[in-house]
């Protein structure tokens, strides 16, 4: 009988918890080792790869894309596990240790699936859309400071670059919604674009508050400032700025309570209703990569990025980012969904004026 096991289920769950923590630690150790790959024997290899501009770029691209792919595999697993715990379930646990390989199995399934194109689809748009969504996501990683030596390109206008590139995602989503030639997709696409463009405004204002504080747009500059003056979240005008950033980031990521573009109970699956197989996987990949990027971006802006004692920088960065991502997941699996007019109202009536006030406060503080 299924009810008689409540005690042992608790025991199993705590055992699982220990297992997951263990997996976490192993991953962090791997990250630390990669972060310290300055072993003497490998130096000539790094030197060679770093010297040639094209090779250098290629290596970076390969490293980053595989880093993102692995990260997404892990994030999806972690989200399912975490959601399972929140919801009195166990989450995946059969494929691999603690169900770690479940996402890999799902990805393999998606790759082998038939790639269905609706007969009435606008083919070029339909085919391109997943990549138009995915590519800007990868591009934004370029300026993310993962560790002291882990920044692919330290642009001096990094923040501007991030804002410009990440808003390109809206194009892809609109293309997906329109190209599918499905009414649910179209509604989802329209909702997504309205949402992304609206929430861009408070997000940019929140980022600008940081910029006025620090006096620079470069990521390294922001981290250096925090190394000298402490985390920016500890400066009081930036606490509301962070909260605005977090809410806007949730909206940009289409996560509950802002998951209207893919609201399952209303629009079936929103803009990716018609997608299957690998194209669908690309949307998923982009969603989770974006999630990591937004959290990482917030960590770099407000929580000192890779700064931290004893452990290598990349470990600190990933730890902080995961805490933030878990917070986002917690929000996602707890609250209901907003309605479209309420969502717009929240943005334009509350967040935008508030972010303006915060910006002015931050500017006043900075010019003291």
């Amino acid at each position: 009988m299924s009810v008689a096991h409540s005690g042992s289920a608790d025991a199993r769950r705590s055992g699982q918890f220990v297992g997951v923590i263990f997996v976490f630690i192993v991953l962090l150790v791997i990250a630390a080792v990669i972060g310290h790959l300055t072993l003497p024997g490998l130096a000539p290899v790094w030197h060679f790869l770093g010297a040639h501009p094209i090779l250098n770029a290629l290596v970076k691209a390969v490293v980053y894309v595989s880093f993102i792919a692995l990260l997404v595999l892990f994030l999806i697993w972690w989200e399912r596990k975490f959601a399972g715990w929140l919801q009195a379930r166990l989450g995946p646990k059969h494929v691999g240790p603690q169900g770690m390989l479940q996402t890999l199995a799902d990805a393999l399934k998606l790759i082998t699936k038939e790639d269905i194109t609706p007969a009435v689809a606008d083919r070029p748009l339909f085919y391109l859309a997943p990549f138009v969504v995915f590519v800007p996501t990868v591009l934004t990683f370029m300026v993310l400071p993962l560790g002291p030596h882990w920044i692919a390109q330290d642009l001096n206008v990094a923040l501007l670059y991030v804002i410009a590139i990440s808003s390109m995602t809206a194009t892809g989503i609109m293309a997906a919604g329109w190209g599918s030639n499905n009414k649910y997709s179209l509604l989802g696409g329209v909702r997504a674009v309205a949402q992304l463009l609206s929430y861009e405004v408070p997000m940019v204002m929140a980022v600008l508050s940081v910029v006025t504080f620090v006096g620079g747009l470069s990521m390294r500059h922001i981290i250096d400032y925090q190394a000298q003056n402490g985390w920016l979240i500890l400066k009081w005008p930036l606490i509301p700025a962070f909260l605005i950033f977090l809410i806007a980031a949730l909206a940009e990521l289409n996560r509950t309570p802002f998951d209207l573009p893919e609201a399952e109970s209303e629009l079936v699956s929103g803009f990716h209703t018609e997608y299957s197989g690998m194209r669908f996987a690309f949307f998923f990949l982009a969603e989770f990569a974006n999630n990591f990027f937004s959290a990482g971006f917030a960590v770099a802006l407000f929580f000192g990025g890779y700064l931290g004692p004893i452990l290598p920088g990349i470990v600190w960065f990933i730890l902080k980012t995961f805490v933030l991502i878990t917070l986002m997941m917690w929000i996602r699996w707890t609250v209901p969904r907003l309605r479209i007019d309420q969502m717009m109202g929240l943005c334009w009536k509350l967040l935008v004026p508030l972010s303006l006030v915060v910006f002015i406060l931050a500017a006043a503080w900075a010019s003291r």
């Binding site: 009988m1 299924s2 009810v3 959601a83 929140l86 919801q87 009195a88 379930r89 009414k183 649910y184 509604l187 509950t256 309570p257 998951d259 209207l260 609201a263 399952e264 109970s265 209303e266 079936v268 699996w333 707890t334 609250v335 209901p336 969904r337 907003l338 309605r339 479209i340 007019d341 309420q342």
Partner: protein
């Protein structure tokens, strides 16, 4: 006219005689269902949208028509109990009860007190289970996914209780004309008691998640308002009616099954919106728990079935020494029961509203006519009234709030 819109939905709707009359060319006709995640089965709503605003909503039903009413006329009274389970499949016991009470009225019998109390206990457990399904799916529609899992966790325990008694989780068919199929097994009441003691904390858990959640309030307050007059005109009953402030509960109004011996309140709402329906159902779960508690405390001893060999078969030990009992046993299992000529309708308060079976007997062992007065069918009619002028996201909340089950609507 709608002919300008050359798309499948409009054409098929017109072919089926559904009026679609776009006000201008800016409106879009969208087909919500029958395959849609939040239409609670296979409801099809044809929405005419202006942007995201609803200009017109037309419900189209019949996708799971199973001919239960007609089928009921081709089954003996005993066998038909099994099909009533399939009507509103999340509150099967209460369907059994409604049917059984009509048959018992035809027969002019009523089970002894223990049978009545067991029935009340089963039905209230079933009401909680049904409300939990409603809570989970309704919250899921509004986007709160975790509530769904929490609600189904407790429903699972109720289903385990049903399994313990009847061997079946969802379709027990345990309430039959003349009483019940069997008594509660050993240790049953202790387990019901354990559930009843635990349940208030669980309700609090659900309420922690959504009760005062600003997003939940925003999404449900002031949405889907129905006036009491509209409810009366449309035949809306159950929690949806009570949310408008009308304290109409058949368990109080026309007590059946010894409900008059139980102390409970009829929760009512004030603003008759989606949120009030939610509050009313949550309060009803608490009241049901009270009723189960009282049933456990005052559970009478003695027989639970009618002592009439024409209605219930003789117990096994009688068959060894009584020829008459063997004959009764054989007749009951082969022919079933023969109610006298007449007609009967006994409404009961199902989790959705007034449920009743209108039975006409011509003296044979088959009902001559069986008609179901289903609450979901009546309640669904209110959707068009509620939806006009609202947003597409609200339709989902409204469908959830009237708590429909398509199995009973389409029959």
């Amino acid at each position: 006219m709608a002919t300008e819109l050359k798309n499948y939905n409009t054409a098929s709707a017109q072919a089926q005689g559904i009026q679609i009359d776009p006000i201008d060319e800016q409106t879009m006709v969208i087909n919500m269902g029958p395959q849609h995640p939040s239409t609670h089965g296979v409801l099809r709503v044809i929405l005419e949208l202006d942007g995201e605003n609803i200009v017109n909503a037309t419900c189209h039903i019949g996708y799971v028509h199973t001919g239960i009413e007609k089928e009921g006329e081709f089954q003996t009274y005993l066998k038909a109990v099994t099909i009533t389970d399939r009507l509103d499949y999340v509150s099967a016991s209460i369907n059994n009860l409604a049917y059984t009470l009509s048959v018992e009225k035809l027969l002019g019998v009523a089970p002894p007190p223990r049978g009545q109390y067991l029935r009340v206990m089963l039905c209230e457990l079933q009401r909680i289970a049904s409300h939990l399904v409603w809570l989970g799916t309704h919250a899921l529609d509004i986007g709160a996914m975790t509530v769904f899992f929490f609600a189904f966790r407790e429903r699972e325990k109720i289903l385990d209780l049903f399994e313990m008694m009847s061997g079946v989780r969802m379709m027990p068919s345990w309430i039959v004309p003349g009483g019940l199929r069997g008594d509660a097994p050993e240790g049953y009441f202790e387990r019901v008691k354990a559930f009843v003691d635990e349940f208030p904390y669980r309700i609090e858990e659900y309420e922690t998640l959504i009760d005062q959640n600003p997003i939940w309030l925003e999404r449900t307050q002031g949405i889907g308002i129905l006036t009491p007059e509209e409810c009366m005109a449309l035949g809306v009953s159950g929690p949806t009616l009570r949310a408008t402030g009308v304290p109409h509960d058949l368990r109080k109004a026309v007590p059946y099954c010894s409900y008059d011996q139980f102390r409970f309140e009829v929760p009512i709402g004030k603003y008759s919106d989606v949120y009030d329906r939610y509050r009313v159902r949550m309060a009803e779960m608490r009241q049901s728990r009270e009723i189960i508690k009282q049933a456990l405390e005052n559970m009478p001893d003695g027989p639970f079935n009618v002592d009439d060999r024409k209605v219930m078969p003789p117990p096994r030990e009688e068959l060894d020494h009584s020829m008459e009992s063997v004959i009764h046993h054989f007749k009951w299992w082969t022919e079933g029961i023969h109610p006298p000529v007449g007609e009967a309708y006994v409404p009961v308060e199902s989790p959705k509203g007034e449920l009743g079976f209108y039975l006409v007997s011509n003296g044979s062992n088959y009902p001559w006519r069986m008609h179901v007065r289903g609450p979901s069918f009546m309640n669904l009619q209110s959707l068009a009234t509620m939806a006009k002028g609202r947003l597409i996201a609200d339709v989902v909340a409204m469908i959830g709030s009237i708590d429909i089950v398509l199995g009973e609507i389409d029959r």
